[in-house]
């Protein structure tokens, strides 16, 4: 079986969860004997042996359709679909055009062209940025289309100031698709409610975590002297950093010997730092800014607890990464990952008291910390990408059978 897959980013040239998920999924598909041609809008220097890549800007006739270099201005405005965002001035290759919609349109044109030249049975596209390209590919090839929803505009914006243009593209993609894969039941529900799609069309395939290329690092010195509670994610409305600091305030009243580490950047960064100072917590907080690669693992490793108070998290791969570093996690019920993770603590994002209660409990009751760490890191060992890939392969087969 051959799949033409439209993506937007791929590690290490990714800004977050979407790229990580694409890599995990395609690796799993390889193990399930599914052949994938992975399309990216522009050429990046990747060293991946399990995939064939096609780069949009190398494609005949349309090369450098828009000659633009500046990076990702669109990201900080119309979409925050990733788990982490590039901080300003970050040295990354110029992936995309200065205007995101321009880039999406360019990709759409290429999509059709690629479909003419490639040999495949089915199209699989990840998130709204690729939908137009994938729809064109479907039109030209007449093959079935699967779209994979990692996040919707409603998650990114918290339901306020929905970008109408993005919404329209999402809705069109969902309607054109023969089958929709949602990363959680939480997301499936949003697709049903906000886009009017019939539930039968939507299959849930949860994300997973890769253990390849991963080794436990040293434990940070800080952990040896203090209890450390970590927030790691974009400092935006969606991730609930404000709930984290309100909970921190309550925690520090009950458990003074604690340090809160905040890793990440985003549009709420200044407001959060200011608020922490106002609440008199400056000496309890460490802001690390945006972290990448090994530094992320080090942050997880120094923490006694990783907290993800997301307001709306379609999946949320970071708790799995934290557990991979043997750090227990407390996550909001408003997340897809809470559907598959059992050995962790959960609370509603708005319930600051409950977040504080659970944070203090982990700091205070060592047996709880140890039990969560041991059982949680054991549990995620079963959450590898082979299972979700198998589910995708089943969905492909089902569609192809129906077509004949």
């Amino acid at each position: 079986m051959k799949i033409l897959m439209f993506g937007w980013e791929f590690p290490p040239f990714n800004s977050g969860g979407l790229g990580t998920a694409c890599m995990g999924l395609t690796r799993g598909l390889k193990n399930a004997n599914v052949e994938v041609t992975f399309v990216l809008p522009r050429k990046v220097d990747l060293d991946v042996d399990f995939l064939k890549f096609v780069y949009g800007d190398e494609f005949s006739g349309i090369k450098n359709y828009y000659a633009v270099n500046s990076l990702l201005q669109g990201y900080s405005t119309s979409e925050n679909y990733n788990d982490r965002v590039f901080s300003e001035g970050e040295k990354m290759p110029a992936l995309y055009g200065k205007d995101l919609f321009e880039e999406v349109e360019r990709y759409a044109l290429i999509g059709g062209e690629i479909a003419k030249n490639e040999d495949f049975n089915l199209i699989h596209a990840h998130d709204w940025l690729t939908y137009k390209a994938a729809i064109n590919a479907k039109k030209i090839s007449g093959k079935h289309l699967v779209i994979h929803v990692h996040a919707t505009e409603f998650d990114r914006t918290g339901g306020n100031n929905i970008n109408q243009e993005v919404y329209e593209i999402e809705k069109k993609g969902m309607e054109e698709a023969n089958s929709i894969i949602a990363v959680s039941n939480f997301t499936k529900q949003k697709i049903i409610e906000n886009y009017g799609i019939s539930p039968e069309k939507i299959k849930v395939v949860h994300n997973a975590v890769d253990f390849e290329d991963y080794a436990l690092g040293e434990v940070h010195k800080l952990k040896k002297t203090k209890k450390v509670v970590l927030f790691l994610g974009r400092l935006t409305l969606q991730k609930g950093p404000d709930y984290f600091i309100y909970a921190a305030k309550k925690v520090s009243e009950h458990y003074p010997d604690v340090v809160f580490v905040v890793s990440g950047s985003g549009d709420m960064e200044k407001a959060i730092i200011k608020k922490v100072a106002e609440m008199g917590l400056a000496d309890k907080f460490i802001f690390t800014g945006f972290l990448r690669g090994k530094d992320i693992n080090e942050a997880y490793r120094m923490a006694d607890l990783y907290v993800m108070p997301s307001v709306s998290e379609p999946f949320g791969i970071t708790p799995l990464e934290a557990l991979r570093c043997e750090t227990p996690v407390l996550i909001s019920n408003q997340s897809g990952v809470s559907e598959i993770l059992n050995h962790c603590l959960k609370a509603d994002f708005w319930d600051v008291d409950e977040f504080a209660n659970k944070i203090v409990s982990v700091l205070k009751y060592n047996e709880l910390y140890r039990c969560l760490r041991e059982n949680g890191s054991k549990e995620i060992k079963n959450l590898n990408w082979n299972e979700p890939a198998k589910r995708c392969a089943e969905i492909y087969e089902e569609l192809l059978r129906g077509k004949k």
């Binding site: 050995h343 504080a356 209660n357 709880l368 059982n375």
Partner: protein
């Protein structure tokens, strides 16, 4: 001759409400929760009463009136009867009516459905005594056969229970102890004089309690006449079949729609069709049949899970931390002589609290197997430990007021890894 012996366990714990770190020192209400969740004890009691206690008691009364040979037995926890007195007196009355037939026996257990035998002998004796008094007050009976919480049993328990005057004790017919032998006979515990051991036939009990509604079970649907054939076939290979199960099997675990009530309605008649069969209560078994062998269980067994050990309550670090903590408070709390505080502390010893912290099936997501009113075992632990913090705070306050120093008494309480050897008593300090 085959005697069929029913014993139904009737128990509802006082589940600890959602109790946060912010409640400590401010809220001494540990058990009442008026939420819509299964932590609302009154709500659970009402629900189970409607589905099980009321219809099943009515059915048993009907059967007892219809068949003079029919007999059953119950074991009620004290915390359960307390809840009935307070919130469902009509249910209690219907149990009394059953007992008034003279063919319903009541067994002895610990008042608080606790694991106290494992952690404090003194506390255990207190709770058994308190249970005896309660049964005497409510039903006017004195239990003669004992069953420990969750059928937790070892040689030492049997010896202690014999010393307390019981003529019989109940245990799981654990295959790894019985070996080739059958649970369908009376046995003698090691190193005892007279006490008779009555073993649960777990296979035939579980056919009713667990497999009854399983559609992929080869014997489904199970009818009373088919079951009676199985009982008949025991003739010659056993003297009794002991069917021990949770009373909630009827209507709560197995819903009415599974046909469980109809099965029971037919049951006595089908069994009694064979003149070689009869019904007996546990004390009648102990009095009518001789011991056919010695049952040696130096380690603890129970009726829980496939393991039939203690791992459902003491299988992980949080469970052990919680139970260690509650028993470590014993000496101080008893010292206060504050009956309200002591009662709360004992209610926190109920085994269910630790069961809810069990993590062994949690990963499989098998929620049916693992009924838990908490969102997770960790949530159960957090509320429980926070409550103990509050309890300790209040205890210290009272002791300070009384200007009593507990420091000079050396408490000889639970020590880690002491499950199988020495365990101290609290009454040493008085």
């Amino acid at each position: 001759m085959v005697s069929v012996c029913f014993y139904f366990q009737v128990h509802q714990p006082l589940r600890v409400r959602k109790y946060s770190i912010f409640d400590i020192g401010k809220n001494n209400n540990y058990f009442s929760d008026n939420s819509e969740t299964s932590l609302n004890n009154v709500k659970v009691l009402r629900k189970v009463s409607e589905k099980c206690y009321i219809p099943m008691n009515a059915l048993l009364l009907e059967l007892l009136e219809k068949h003079p040979e029919f007999k059953v037995s119950f074991s009620f926890s004290g915390v359960y009867l307390e809840q009935l007195e307070k919130h469902a007196p009509e249910v209690l009355l219907s149990f009394k009516k059953l007992v008034d037939t003279g063919r319903v026996e009541i067994l002895g257990e610990t008042y608080y459905h606790s694991l106290s035998f494992l952690f404090s002998k003194g506390e255990f004796f207190e709770q058994v005594k308190k249970h005896e008094e309660l049964i005497q007050r409510i039903f006017g009976k004195t239990p003669r056969v004992f069953r420990n919480t969750e059928l937790i049993y070892n040689n030492e328990l049997a010896k202690n229970i014999e010393g307390m005057g019981y003529i019989g004790i109940i245990a799981e017919g654990a295959p790894f102890i019985l070996g080739w032998r059958s649970p369908n006979y009376i046995y003698s515990p090691v190193n005892t004089q007279r006490i008779k051991l009555i073993l649960k036939n777990y296979k035939m009990s579980d056919d009713i309690a667990f497999r009854f509604s399983e559609r992929n079970w080869a014997e489904w649907p199970l009818t009373a006449s088919k079951y009676a054939q199985w009982i008949n076939s025991v003739n010659g290979g056993g003297e009794m079949v002991n069917l021990f199960m949770d009373y909630e099997t009827f209507g709560e675990h197995q819903w009415e729609s599974t046909g469980i009530f109809d099965f029971m309605r037919q049951f006595p008649e089908e069994i009694l069709k064979n003149p070689d069969n009869n019904f007996k209560t546990p004390s009648e078994l102990a009095e009518s049949y001789p011991s056919r062998g010695v049952f040696d269980s130096p380690g603890f067994i129970s009726w829980a899970d496939i393991e039939r050990d203690l791992s459902a309550w003491l299988g992980n670090e949080i469970q052990n931390a919680a139970i260690k903590k509650v028993y470590s408070l014993g000496f101080k709390i008893l010292k206060t002589q504050n009956s309200e505080l002591i009662d709360k502390w004992r209610k926190l010893q109920t085994s269910d609290h630790f069961y809810y912290m069990c993590t062994k099936w949690f990963s499989d997501g098998d929620v049916h197997k693992y009924f838990n009113p908490y969102q997770s075992p960790y949530d159960a632990f957090i509320s429980y430990m926070n409550v103990l913090q509050d309890l300790e705070l209040r205890t210290d306050e009272i002791l300070n007021e009384k200007k009593l120093s507990v420091g000079k008494f050396k408490s000889n309480i639970y020590k880690e890894n002491s499950l199988t050897n020495k365990r101290g008593d609290f009454n040493g300090g008085n």
